[in-house]
């Protein structure tokens, strides 16, 4: 069955749970799948091979072409700016969640033990981040009252953009060093492995 | 934001140890005031008082307004004390409600001047029920190194006595307010000149007493007491709130000491105004 496109408003009945999985942009109320956002109704056929023995139902979801603002959830990858640091943690203003921008910055912190996977006790905050750095990180917990907890333990996580004392943007030369092309000064950072 | 730094333990201990021996950290005698400097500016009603490091600027202005219906023949006296972190960090004026000190000081001055009716408000009446003078006293604290109240009271009285308001003549229902250079402005009529004298008390039950505590002493003192007297030896206000309770006898003793202090402060004000 081809996925026809119908525009639906929130609260519109889309189908039954016996027939469909409910996907993003939908919710289920007593056995019925409803749309939860304004958008186009899509149906995605379950891929044959993935469904081993249990027969998989096609997924019903509602899609919005101009994706709106996102919020961080556990596991999502974020892009943020380091606001201030102290020996124990760096506070980060989360600007992007996955590919979607945030309406306003969310507060996050990277605790010193979450900066890298190995030799945690040797990590020095000052040698990992500086205020103003742009970092890529992963949300590991909803954290405390204020901030989300972030981690840069993965290789592809860490500083993606930083400026030197002199104010020139630096280029990573190792996974823990960056260099100012002009002044040749080398500063320590926990760099992110460039994603190709 | 900025929090006041409590004095260190050794400062406390030393201060007390010295005081036991009758010595004050700034070398003063127990019942000595710090050097009092009163400077009157050429503009009427603008006086700066300097009590050691503490500096207070008092400004008196006046305008014509309509009296309160229930008091048609009385002029108004308004007070406004401005205690910002200009004077000292720790005092934060940014938050909406006034700080404790600000309330304390401004209410104290208000009590001293208004409740004791130092100013003759009837004399401020121009046309009963229609026009009266509204005198306004602004206090600006420039530097806080202890004993704001005494400095403020001295500044207020000096400023009020130094102030001149434009002269007025009435014919019938008409009031003519004369320009200052057309007719000499006239001073306010002041009944009496109340002056605050503040005492600091130290030791577990406050038996060590001293006059005019400075900032460090204020922070260390266990109790304080302000007595306000005028030249007629009348008490115009008493204020002792908080701190360890004091023996009644102390109060009497303070009164005696204050009487002498008030006299020479009044003299100082006098000569400052003469100058």
């Amino acid at each position: 069955m081809s996925s026809e496109s119908v525009i639906v408003t929130p609260g519109r009945r889309l189908g039954l749970t016996q027939e469909y999985e409910s996907g993003p942009g939908t919710y289920v109320r007593n056995g019925m799948i409803y749309s939860s956002i304004l958008g186009t109704k899509k149906i995605e056929q379950a891929l044959a091979e993935t469904s081993d023995d249990s027969i998989k139902r096609p997924m019903l979801f509602v899609e919005r072409q101009n994706t709106k603002f996102a919020i961080p959830v556990i596991g999502s990858e974020i892009l943020g700016r380091v606001v201030r640091i102290n020996p124990r943690a760096a506070s980060v203003a989360i600007m992007m969640v996955d590919s979607a921008p945030c309406q306003e910055d969310f507060q996050g912190i990277v605790r010193v033990q979450d900066i890298r996977a190995t030799e945690k006790d040797l990590v020095q905050m000052i040698n990992s981040f500086r205020p103003g750095d742009i970092i890529r990180a992963e949300v590991i917990s909803l954290g405390d009252q204020r901030s989300y907890f972030l981690a840069t333990t993965k290789n592809e996580h860490g500083v993606v953009f930083a400026q030197s004392e002199a104010g020139n943007s630096m280029i990573p030369i190792s996974w823990e060093e960056m260099q100012d092309p002009k002044t040749q000064t080398i500063e320590k950072r926990k760099c992110a492995k460039p994603v190709t | 934001m900025v929090v006041e730094i409590e004095p260190s333990n050794i400062e406390r201990e030393f201060l007390l140890e010295a005081l036991e021996k009758g010595i004050r950290v700034d070398g003063r005698g127990i019942y000595d005031y710090r050097t009092l400097k009163i400077t009157c500016s050429p503009t009427y009603g603008l006086v700066e008082v300097q009590l050691g490091q503490t500096r207070v600027l008092a400004r008196v202005t006046c305008e014509v307004t309509r009296p309160f219906p229930d008091r048609p023949t009385e002029g108004l006296v308004q007070f406004n004390a401005d205690l910002s972190n200009l004077a000292a960090p720790g005092l934060d004026s940014s938050s909406g409600k006034p700080s404790v000190q600000e309330v304390a000081v401004s209410r104290m001055i208000e009590r001293v001047i208004r409740q004791s009716r130092a100013i003759d408000t009837e004399a401020l009446c121009i046309l009963a029920g229609e026009k009266v003078w509204s005198v306004r006293l602004d206090l600006h604290f420039l530097d806080h190194s202890g004993n704001l109240i005494d400095a403020a009271s001295i500044a207020s009285i000096a400023a009020l006595r130094h102030f001149r308001r434009p002269d007025v003549t009435i014919d019938g229902e008409e009031a003519i307010i004369h320009d200052v250079n057309e007719r000499n402005p006239v001073p306010l009529s002041i009944h009496h000149t109340p002056i605050c004298v503040t005492f600091g008390f130290f030791g577990s039950n406050g038996d060590l007493m001293l006059v005019d505590p400075n900032l460090l002493e204020e922070q260390v003192q266990v109790s304080s007491f302000t007595i306000t007297l005028n030249s007629h030896r009348e008490i115009c206000a008493l204020s002792k709130a908080g701190g360890v309770p004091l023996a009644p006898s102390l109060i009497q003793r303070c009164t005696q000491i204050a009487l002498t202090k008030v006299d020479d402060i009044n003299d100082k004000i006098q000569e400052a105004l003469m100058a």
């Binding site: 020996p87 500086r130 | 730094i5 409590e6 333990n9 050794i10 030393f14 010295a18 021996k21 700034d26």
Partner: protein, 233 residues
Amino acid sequence: MAETKVVLPGDIIDTSLDSDEEESSVLRLGPGVAQIDEQVSAVAAGVLHSDNEKKQWWVVSNKRRYVPAEGEPVVGVVVARHGEGYRVDIGSAQGALLPLLAFEGATKRNKPNLAVGTVVYARVAVANSVMDPEIECYNSHTGKSEGYGELAGGFMFKCSLGLARRLIDSKAPVLNALGSGIPFEVAVGLNGRVWINTEAPATTVLIANAIKNSEFLDAKQCRQMVKELLEKQ
């Protein structure tokens, strides 16, 4: 040294030396002096000092607010205790951190326990623009206390940073003059706090006042002033 030259921020400083081989030499710029483009100019108001041999330039200015610099001795007051260390007020913009173990011979088991309000003599260990300063009560290299640590008894008072710098100099006239007259202990923090201790409060007060007064006096006047004070006593 030549007559004192007062510079204001922005003043271009003539770094041309009487010595000729200039380009080879490297200039050393101290506090209050910076290289802007090709020129050297003052960034703080104060008295310009220079040392031609070492090719050094620096400006001595009398600030009120202390800006911590690594290695400087300071006198601080413990304002709070956290899990990782003490928060110490050293008069800088941010309170400094004093790690629990930054004392001579301190171990996890036995470490000094400082009450809030205690006065400590310490040296600045970490000072950078992005983090709160850190101080330590021992020399982390030697592990020896070198006179740092808690200051018990005595009296502490504040003075201008300029005066503090002059006092730290071993041949500070006031201290010498006083020292010749009366025995006393003194610890000077470059953050403008001086701690002194004598056997009698009276003398302590006297010394404190003497030091405060010496702010604007030259060596000769100092001795005079001290002399009078001592006589009064």
